[in-house]
């Protein structure tokens, strides 16, 4: 079955006073639960009020998921950066991993996130690869138990 990878960016409309981190965590959590049902995987990057999301899965599932994303009023300026057919997933083990810029984020990660944010506007493929590298770096520093490959 052909796989599709989709990359989009958007600007958050989340109210800041309610604790952005909590809200973004909740979104990623909810997405992960939904995605598990339709075998969609990916990463959600949140930096400086911007969402960068990679979705991977079957064509119809991606279409449906993206349509749902486009009906969400918690963000705006949705820009579809890339939609490609791929042979294999770059994020097979992540239901919807969150990479976000919070208070406790290391300086290194923050740099990486900024690089991703820049790359998205320039080269979609490089941005996706950078996200993957960033995730791998995270994995090596923190041992994760809950990931099932």
């Amino acid at each position: 079955m052909p796989l599709t990878r989709l990359l989009y960016t958007s600007t958050s409309c989340l109210p800041e006073q309610n604790g952005l981190t909590v809200q973004v965590n909740a979104i990623a959590q909810q997405a992960a639960e939904r995605n598990e049902k339709c075998a969609v995987t990916g990463v959600l990057v949140f930096i400086e009020n911007q969402f960068i999301q990679v979705l991977e899965g079957g064509g119809p599932e991606i279409e449906e998921t993206f349509e749902r994303i486009c009906c969400d009023l918690r963000h705006k300026s949705v820009r579809l950066i890339d939609l490609v057919v791929v042979k294999e997933r770059m994020f097979p083990c992540w239901k919807m991993q969150l990479l976000s810029d919070k208070h406790e984020t290391t300086l290194e990660l923050r740099d990486d996130l900024e690089t991703i944010s820049f790359l998205v506007g320039v080269n979609a493929k490089a941005a996706v690869e950078k996200i993957r590298k960033c995730l791998d770096a995270q994995e090596s520093t923190t041992i994760r138990h809950n990931l099932v490959c």
Binding site: C71, L73, L80
Partner: protein
């Protein structure tokens, strides 16, 4: 009296009770079914008639039979089998026949006759049943009671059926049912009152009550089964029918593709909202939504994809509006929204913004990315109107204005928009009239050599004074003429007139005439040009047609063909307003262009604006190297003229050197020129 004492003393009251219950429920169910029978025709009517007859007949017979089993006679009793069975068949058959009679439509008294037949059937059933009842004793019949019983039941049955057909809507089934029950019970007990048995001496044994009780129970059960089946069939049918009706009602009020409300539901909702507004002062907002760039999707991706886009848009619209608002699809890619209780502009604005935001987000349809946008027109009730037509019109005007201001936006209705549209309508009408009557004037703006001393040509400019609105700028009326399909006609007139005028000028003075992009797409243009030249006897090399880049953008193959044909006749082509559009350099060598006219927006910023200065210089150099003549338009100051002269433009044109004037004045200018020269 005799009847009551017959019930109380001669009958076992338990049996009487069972019979009564069966009778009343049976009658109620029967009338329900009979009523349904009357509504039907053809085969369905026959089915309903059959069911009704069985339920009514069964109930009647069971009532009679159980009550009779409860009749206490001090004598042995036997029952004649065939007669008992035929009594039941008489009841069913007779009632069926009565129903058929009652439902004859053309006959006014049909219900009365039908009802009477039913009454007679009940009576026949009863007395046949009585013949089957053999008591060993002296049996005596009282003819008075017999007649009374028959008359009573016939009248009551007729009343019951008549009531069913003609009574008030509410409760008529129950009333008819009770009348029917009364007919059955009344007949039975009056009939029984007519009947007395005196036991034969020597026999004192009564009826076998235990066997009778069993029989009564069995009959009661079977009858309940019949009545219950009748009732179930009725409810089942009603459920199926109402499901069907609900579905049909849904189809009638909804758009098949998107399942949104359709135009009909929208119109009804709008009318009812307007009525509520007047009654309770409840405000609401009407939003008209039109998709931008939708048609190309159907053309390029196909109709299934277009349909899918419409479905997605519908869902997004439902997300954008508030719960309970009505979203309707009222045309191909047109939607209308009624937003209840929204009265202030801020609320309506946020809905409109959400619509525009959501619709403009990308969509993936059949592996293709589709990006469309929406224009929204908003009318708020009651500020912008209280009548459905007025509100719809005003929201449409606002939508039109949103489309005019570049799409992908929303506009609220304003009275000034109405004025703008009215102005446009008047202009359209006047323009059409002007076209018939040749009400246009042509003025000529002299084109000088770059010294600004010698006239070498004139650009013909069209002027129009609308009888109602006064002088109208070409930038306003030309687009209207283009839209109304008048431009080719106006253009031909202008060509003819200007060629005639120019023929009276000195031979070295050229003529420049503007040609609109629409004219350029008209394959008859070369012929029109030729005819104008021949008609005036003007040499083709003196005529120059000015075109704009937009003409080449739209359909460059067709334009190229037309232009080449014109160029072949010797008429030259110049590119007007150069530098403002795409300024694609490929046009300069692909098309037979011999002159570039630098747009006045650059010239007017000379000589101080460095950017404009460089552009003008560059264009002048480009002209020199491509062997094209250059004209600078819009010269207003002498410093501009000096700059232009320095950078080698061939010709100049502008208010400094000469304003547009009439043909006579232009001829005057030339003679003065030649005199001074």
């Amino acid at each position: 009296m005799r009847v009551i004492s017959c019930v109380v003393h001669d009958h076992n009251l338990w049996f009487v009770m069972v019979a009564a219950i069966l009778c009343v429920t049976g009658s109620l169910v029967a009338t329900t079914l009979i009523r349904r029978t009357f509504l039907e025709q053809g085969v369905s009517k026959a089915h309903w008639c059959f069911l009704s007859a069985f339920v009514a007949g069964g109930a009647t017979w069971a009532t009679h039979f159980i009550a009779m089993l409860g009749y206490q006679v001090p004598a042995p009793v036997t029952l004649d089998g065939p007669l008992t069975v035929s009594s039941a068949l008489i009841a069913v058959g007779g009632i069926g026949a009565g129903l058929e009679i009652a439902s004859i439509r053309r006959f006014r008294f049909a219900p009365i006759f039908g009802g009477a037949t039913i009454g007679l059937a009940i009576a026949s059933m009863h007395y046949t049943g009585m013949f089957a009842y053999r008591a060993d004793g002296a049996v005596r019949w009282d003819v008075g009671y017999i007649i009374a019983s028959i008359v009573l039941t016939v009248i009551l049955s007729a009343l019951a059926v008549w009531r069913l057909q003609n009574g008030a809507e509410k409760g008529r089934t129950v009333q008819a049912g009770l009348l029917l029950a009364l007919a059955i019970v009344g007949l039975h007990f009056t009939g029984m009152a007519a009947f007395t048995v005196t036991p034969m001496p020597g026999f004192s044994q009564g009826a076998d009550s235990e066997a009778f009780a069993t029989m009564a129970a069995a009959i009661g059960l079977v009858t309940s089964l019949i009545v219950g089946t009748g009732l179930s069939s009725y409810f089942l049918e009603r459920k199926t029918r109402s499901d069907g009706e609900t579905r049909i009602a849904h189809i009638a009020m909804h758009d098949a593709l998107t399942d949104l409300a359709n135009r009909r539901q929208f119109t009804e909702a709008l009318e009812s909202e307007c009525a509520k507004l007047k009654k309770y002062g409840r405000p609401f907002t009407l939003l008209m939504v039109d998709l931008d760039r939708f048609k190309p999707i159907n053309d390029t991706l196909g109709h299934p994809a277009g349909d899918e886009v419409l479905r997605r848009v519908s869902r997004r619209l439902l997300v954008a509006v508030r719960r309970g608002d009505i979203v309707a699809r009222i045309g191909g890619d047109e939607f209308a929204i009624i937003s209840f209780g929204v009265s202030d502009a801020t609320q309506a604005q946020s809905i409109a913004e959400r619509i525009i935001e959501l619709v403009s987000r990308p969509m993936i349809v059949q592996d293709s990315v589709v990006e469309i946008s929406a224009s929204v027109g908003v009318a708020v009730a009651p500020q912008h109107g209280t009548e459905p037509d007025q509100l719809t019109k005003h929201a449409d005007v606002a939508l039109y204005s949103a489309k005019q201001s570049g799409k992908h936006t929303y506009r609220f209705f304003e009275p000034s928009l109405m004025l703008a549209i009215q102005r446009r309508r008047t202009l359209e009408a006047s323009l059409r009239r002007a076209c018939m009557r040749d009400e246009f004037r042509i003025v000529y703006q002299p084109v000088f050599n770059s010294d600004g001393t010698e006239i070498c040509a004139a650009e013909a400019l069209l002027r129009w004074t609308c009888p109602e609105r006064g002088e109208i700028a070409p930038s306003e009326f030309i687009p209207i003429a283009e839209e109304q399909g008048l431009v080719s006609r106006i253009g031909a007139t202008v060509l003819r007139q200007t060629c005639l005028d120019a023929a009276s000028w000195p031979d070295h003075i050229g003529l420049a005439v503007n040609v609109s992009p629409i004219q350029l797409l008209d394959p008859r243009l070369p012929q029109t040009v030729r005819q104008a030249l021949e008609g005036a006897g003007l040499s083709p090399h003196r005529l120059e047609l000015e075109i704009t880049e937009t003409a080449l953008l739209q359909n460059d193959e067709a334009a190229l063909k037309v232009l080449n044909q014109i160029r072949e006749t010797g008429v030259r082509i110049s590119l007007d307003d150069f530098g403002t559009g795409y300024s694609s350099l490929s046009y300069l060598h692909r098309f037979p262009i011999s002159r570039i006219k630098i747009d006045k927006s650059f010239v007017q910023k000379l000589p101080d604006d460095a950017g404009s200065a460089s552009i003008v210089k560059a264009i002048a150099q480009l002209g020199a190297s491509l062997n094209l003549e250059i004209t600078a338009e819009g010269i207003e100051t002498s410093s501009q003229l000096n700059f232009i002269r320095e950078y080698g433009c061939d010709h100049v044109q502008g208010f400094l050197t000469g304003r547009p004037v009439s043909n006579e004045a232009f001829i005057g200018l030339m003679t003065r020129d030649s005199v001074s020269a």
